[in-house]
Structures are given as structure tokens and as C-alpha cells.
């Protein structure tokens, strides 16, 4: 009996927790809002609260201040590139919310992907649009050596870090002396990995601060009238659509407003779907810098990350669901930058008029056209605009002596 009673108490307590404030202690403003949302919509709203703190057991310097300082210098360091003119910040510009404002990224050449924003990237389950990296540090290494992006190489990067007086001082502070007992090739690879881990220590702090929407959700939890007033009425209508009838929450949920997985959202295309996540899984499992590889600081944790990955034909055409924090400031949109504005994105989901014809192999249509009217489109846009956080703090901006 005692067990049954305890379970009952837990169930009741859990129920209250999931719906926030006790209704009898809330003011009329909260009461009106509570009546506006269904139980499910309300629960989905509350699930967006509390952005988690990022961590990465495969990178033991992820939280280290010295690694952060080295990572900050490296992030804005153009000498990592083959032509000495491109840094990470060339595409991930803090003044543009860590993206570049272009439909398709341009490094040494134009590539076929849109530059994703780095906001909250440390909280991604997978990195890149196809998820071909399982950590920020392994992600950071690929653009440096990609011939169309930065066009650098690990040997020159290692030499730069170990010989440039400023970078060497930061390196020694973060990692101590470079390994002497290894061959030049192995030393270069080891230092290259450390460069990735330092960059991840920097990028791991690119986290969004509270937004008007977060303040509103806090108000739903506490009843604070000032917090409840943080979202204008049009954005509240948009939130109700987003977390309800429109079904946006199916992929865009939780604190990041992303399920962190991969979907085909029927973007316009010619021909067959791209390999996308299908290829991404293959590359991830064979990446020498993945979390279960020799450079991981926690191979077991890395193995666990990759242990259950599957690779199926359905993954063709599936790209990662982006988080939506600061989405209003990170146009263009989608993995290929096909839409120039939020209006175009919403129009796509409203009509699916530009969706490709379905092949017989995947005839079941997952997405349905939302058929939003003009006021609904405006409300959804207002909600998305309420997800904008303050600009990056100065500690994330270029060092004063940087020419980036």
C-alpha cells in the first residue's frame, strides 16, 4: 500500500510540475493564457525552457579557459587557411549571428551548402547538415582541410601553432609542451586535433541568452505579469499555431526548437534526392576523428554515441533540423539556402507548391501543406522573431589585435 500511495503522490506532483504554476495562485493574465492553450500545447511550450549546458566527454578541454583562449585566437586566425585569407569567422561571422548572409558558403570556392549559424552548435547531437561529425572538435577540423573551404592542411596548421609566438604561448597554456616522442606526421595530427578541441572550447560558449519568448515561458511557469507581457499578442497566436495546429513542433521542439535529427522537408529539387544523411552516417562511422577513435578523450562515451546509428535508404534527402533560436537574423534558410526570407520558408510549409513529385518508393507524404492564411503567416513570423537573443558577448568577438 505504501508503494502505491507513493506512486500516486509522485504522479500528482509530476502532473503539477508539467503544467507549471498552480492555477489557483495565478493572476488573470496567466489564467487567460492558460485557457488559450490546450494541455498539449502548454506542455510543449514549457519544454522549450532551460537550455542545457553543453558538454563533451570526448574533449577534455571543452570547459577549459586556456583552451577557450587558444580557440578564440584560432577561430579568427586566417593563417589556418591555404591562402592565408580565410578564417572560421569568414563564414561564421559574429556580426552576422555566426553565419555569412549568403545562400551558399564561399571559401576558396563556392560550396553547395548554406553556412549554418554556430549559435548553440555545441548542443547539436550531430554536426554538419548531414551529421557527418559527432563532436564540435571533429567538425572544426574538416573545413580547415577542405579544398573548397579553407584549403589548409594539418602539417602547416601544427607548424603555425607551435612556432608563432602568440599562438605557441596560448597552446602551451592549454596543452603543455607538444609531444616530442612522436614522428613529425603524428605530432602534426596530434596538434591538429588539439586545434579542433580548442576551437570547440571556444564555440561551445556561443550560446544564446534569454529571448522574449523565454521570458514569456518563464512567466507561464511563475505567473509573473511582466514576463507574461514579454511576448506580443501576435507572437502568442503564432506560438499557439507553432506548438499546435501547424505541427511545426513535431520537428522543432525542446529548448533548441530542434529534434536534432534529419528530415526530408520536400524542398524543391531536380532529380533524385541527394545522399544527405545516408552519406553522413557512412562518413561519420569512418571518420578517424570520431568519438570512438584514437584521438577521443573518452572512447567509451564516443562508442555509445555511435552504437545505435542506422543507415537506411530513407535517409536520402534528409538534412538536419536546425535550431530556431535567432532564426530571424540568419537568412537565407535551409541546407542549400534556397529561401531568402522567413516569408519564403513559411510559404513553402503553407503550400508545398514547390515540393518535388513523390517517387513510388516514398509515396507516403509526411508533410502536409499548412494552408495558412495571411494572418497566420504573420503570427508564425512574429513568433519566430521572438526567438532572437542579444548579440554575442565581447569575450566571443575577435581579439583586439586580430585583423579578421
Amino acid at each position: 500500500m505504501r508503494i502505491v500511495a507513493s506512486l500516486t503522490v509522485l504522479a500528482v506532483a509530476g502532473g503539477l510540475a508539467s503544467f507549471g504554476l498552480r492555477s489557483e495562485s495565478a493572476g488573470p493574465q496567466w489564467q487567460a493564457l492558460r485557457a488559450q492553450f490546450s494541455d498539449q500545447e502548454w506542455a510543449r511550450l514549457l519544454r522549450t525552457a532551460d537550455l542545457p549546458a553543453p558538454s563533451d566527454p570526448t574533449n577534455k578541454v571543452f570547459h577549459d579557459d586556456a583552451a577557450f583562449r587558444l580557440g578564440r585566437a584560432l577561430f579568427y586566425e586566417k593563417r589556418l587557411s591555404g591562402n592565408g585569407e580565410l578564417s572560421c569567422a569568414s563564414c561564421h561571422d559574429p556580426a552576422r549571428d555566426w553565419t555569412d548572409g549568403k545562400a551558399l558558403a564561399v571559401g576558396l570556392e563556392q560550396v553547395d551548402k548554406h553556412t549554418p549559424s554556430l549559435w548553440n552548435s555545441a548542443l547539436n547531437r550531430w554536426q554538419f547538415w548531414d551529421g557527418r561529425a559527432d563532436s564540435l572538435w571533429s567538425q572544426a577540423l574538416q573545413p580547415i582541410e577542405h579544398p573548397k573551404e579553407m584549403g589548409g592542411n594539418r602539417e602547416e596548421v601544427a607548424e603555425l601553432v607551435l612556432t608563432d609566438p602568440d599562438l605557441r604561448a596560448l597552446y602551451l597554456e592549454a596543452f603543455g609542451p607538444a609531444p616530442q616522442e612522436l614522428s613529425a606526421t603524428l605530432t602534426a595530427e596530434r596538434v591538429f586535433v588539439q586545434v579542433g578541441k580548442a576551437l570547440a572550447a571556444f564555440e561551445g560558449r556561443i550560446l544564446t541568452a534569454a529571448t522574449p519568448f523565454d521570458q514569456f515561458v518563464s512567466g507561464l511557469q511563475t505567473g509573473d505579469p511582466e514576463d507574461l507581457a514579454a511576448l506580443d499578442p501576435l507572437a502568442i497566436v503564432g506560438a499557439k499555431l507553432f506548438f499546435g495546429e501547424a505541427g511545426c513542433h513535431l520537428c522543432h521542439h525542446g529548448p533548441l526548437l530542434s529534434d536534432m535529427e534529419f528530415h526530408d522537408v520536400e524542398l524543391p529539387r531536380e532529380g533524385a534526392p541527394e545522399p544527405a544523411r545516408h552519406a553522413g552516417v557512412g562518413r561519420l562511422l569512418t571518420d578517424p576523428f570520431n568519438g570512438r577513435g584514437q584521438h577521443s578523450d573518452d572512447v567509451e562515451a564516443g562508442r555509445e554515441r555511435l552504437a545505435y546509428l542506422n543507415r537506411t535508404p530513407h535517409q536520402r534527402g534528409e538534412w538536419k533540423t536546425p535550431g530556431l533560436r535567432n532564426v530571424a537574423r540568419t537568412a537565407p534558410y535551409m541546407h542549400n539556402g534556397v529561401y531568402a526570407s522567413l516569408d519564403e520558408v513559411l510559404e513553402h510549409y503553407s503550400t508545398l507548391s514547390d515540393a518535388p513529385a513523390r517517387s513510388h518508393t516514398d509515396a507516403k507524404r509526411v508533410l502536409e501543406a499548412g494552408q495558412f492564411d495571411g494572418s497566420q503567416l504573420q503570427a508564425l513570423k512574429a513568433f519566430l522573431q521572438s526567438l532572437s537573443s542579444p548579440p554575442p558577448p565581447s569575450e566571443l568577438l575577435p581579439p583586439l589585435d586580430s585583423d579578421s
Binding site: 508503494i3 521542439h253 525542446g254 535529427e261 534529419f262 545505435y308 546509428l309 516514398d362 509526411v366
Partner: protein, 158 residues
């Protein structure tokens, strides 16, 4: 709590008395704090035994944690009750209204006496899921054998 001894070793033993015993056993184990492989010691609700498509086997399960969280990994423990056989189990999740399944392939580990641990489950989207359990076993036919298959589907709302 000992894993149920009659599972998979007993032919066609099923019904309310057995079910009650199993659930009571789980509650006793919770109360005594006894730690055993599996998850029932934490007092999670256990889905009632459900017959497989062929009615040969009965399957029940519980999740850890409970309720199943949206887009977070979880494990389940399955109990299989029915004819003695060297069963191989495959477990998968499916969203019938979306036409897709999980983004992972879970790992099934036999714990003995008809109990199986399933690791690596992830329901990454809210909505109606099916927990699909496929059973396969080898049936000897004198000097040859055939592979028999069976399955059971549980509806799960996330």
C-alpha cells in the same frame, strides 16, 4: 526480483494468475530495494502481457525512464512467455502516420529466463509510435530446420 522462471521455459503458461504474480513480484522487489538486472525494481508500470500475432507467445515490457521522454534515449526490458525456443528478438519503433521509424537500431541482449534488455531506443518525435517486437526461432524438422517468425506491436503515445 528474480526474472520470471516460467518464461520461455514453459509451454503455453499464461493467464491472470501468472501475470499477477509477476507484477506483485515487481512490487515486492521495489519495496525490498533488491537490485537485479532489468528495470522493474524502479516500480515502472509494466505493460500487460500481449499475445503475438500467432498467439504462440506473450510479451510485456516496461521502459526506463517512464514515461518515455521525447527525443531522449531510453531502455526497455521485455519479458517473453511461451514455448521453449532459442528466440532471437528484434525491436524497432515506427511512426505509422509519418511513415518512418527510429533513427537508431537498438541492441537486444538476452538476460535469461525470457527477459531481454533493449538499449538504444529513441523516439525523436512526439506522436503515435508503434513498438514493434519481432521474434524468430529455429524449428528442427528431423534432419532439417525452418526459421519461424512472429511479432507483436504495441501502440505508444509520446
Amino acid at each position: 526480483m528474480e526474472p520470471p522462471k516460467n518464461i520461455s521455459r514453459t509451454r503455453r503458461k499464461r493467464g491472470i494468475p501468472c501475470r499477477l504474480l509477476l507484477v506483485l513480484g515487481a512490487l515486492v522487489a521495489s519495496c525490498s530495494g533488491e537490485r537485479q538486472p532489468g528495470i522493474y525494481q524502479d516500480g515502472q508500470p509494466v505493460r500487460p502481457f500481449t499475445s503475438t500475432e500467432s498467439n504462440l507467445y506473450q510479451v510485456r515490457w516496461a521502459s526506463q525512464p517512464h514515461p518515455i521522454p521525447i527525443n531522449e534515449p531510453f531502455e526497455i526490458v521485455l519479458d517473453v512467455l511461451g514455448p521453449e525456443a532459442d528466440l532471437t528478438l528484434e525491436v524497432d519503433g515506427w511512426m505509422p502516420s509519418h511513415g518512418h521509424g527510429m533513427v537508431r537500431t537498438p541492441r537486444v541482449t538476452p538476460l535469461g529466463n525470457g527477459r531481454y534488455q533493449v538499449q538504444g531506443m529513441l523516439f525523436h518525435m512526439e506522436g503515435a509510435w508503434e513498438l514493434r517486437v519481432a521474434l524468430a526461432w529455429r524449428e528442427n524438422l528431423g534432419d532439417s530446420f525452418v526459421i519461424r517468425r512472429d511479432n507483436v506491436v504495441f501502440e505508444v503515445q509520446i
